[in-house]
Amino acid sequence: MAATTTFYGAGGVLTAALGGEIDHHTAACLRTQIDEEIARRMPQTLILDFSGVGFMDSSGIGLILSRCKRMQAIGGQLRVRGTSPQIDRVLALAGIQVEKQEENNYGSH
């Protein structure tokens, strides 16, 4: 099942609404699409919204961490939100805890 991403942005905040399943196969394409959009918009904040993601394995962790590095390299920050319990389980193994609030923050590891 392919993974999709829809971008929308306002005032320096770029949101990538992800959908489908994120694994090694689908992460490559997502990575490219997100990086292209970051380069195009140079946002201050990138929000990865996982509300539409039904499954993610540790390939998604690689995706998140390297997007975080990319944002830090341009002086920005990354936020993660909309994760399911399954995704939270996987993130916990990498020491990443997503706060269940209006605006979720990417925790340190």
């Binding site: 090694h24 499954f55 690689g62 193994l93």
Partner: protein, 143 residues
């Protein structure tokens, strides 16, 4: 001890088969009436094991992956993922969390950590040049 039910699938080490493997195992496991959490744990562990094969087993080539699911007495599920690829020179090192021989900016090195955490038992056997066999066990608690 012979399994009550078992199935084996063989497929190429193409990354597009990672989702196929998850779906196939989920379909088999559904007969055990697992909880949502148990099913997602199993699918994630299978995804990691199969991904290890697609990423590492056959560098610059495509080889075969053999996945077996077996159900034993007392709801014991055993899943084996095997390949005849390059093998792992140091299994203990490979199983350390965050260790990866893949691209560090892309691979988190957490595959074995996920399998260890989400399944009840994990066994890894490998011979460089001959292949690798990963055996995972989970005891399904019926609802």
């Amino acid at each position: 001890m012979a399994p009550i039910n078992t199935a084996k699938i063989t497929f190429l080490s193409r990354s597009s088969n990672e989702a196929f493997a998850r779906g196939a195992v989920a379909a088999f496991v559904s007969q055990l009436d697992p909880t949502v959490a148990e099913l997602s744990d199993i699918k994630t562990a299978v995804s990691e094991a199969v991904t290890n094969c697609t990423v590492h087993a056959y560098p610059d080539a495509v080889g075969k992956i053999e996945l077996t699911v077996a159900l034993y007495e007392q709801d014991k599920l055993v899943i084996t993922v095997a390949d005849k690829g390059v093998g792992i020179p140091d299994v203990e090192q490979a199983m350390q969390p965050m260790f990866t021989t893949g691209r560090p900016d892309e691979r988190a090195g957490l595959g074995f950590a996920v399998m260890q955490s989400f399944m009840d038992q994990l066994k890894v056997r490998s011979h460089p040049g001959k292949g690798t066999r990963v055996t995972m066990t989970k005891y399904i608690r019926r609802r």
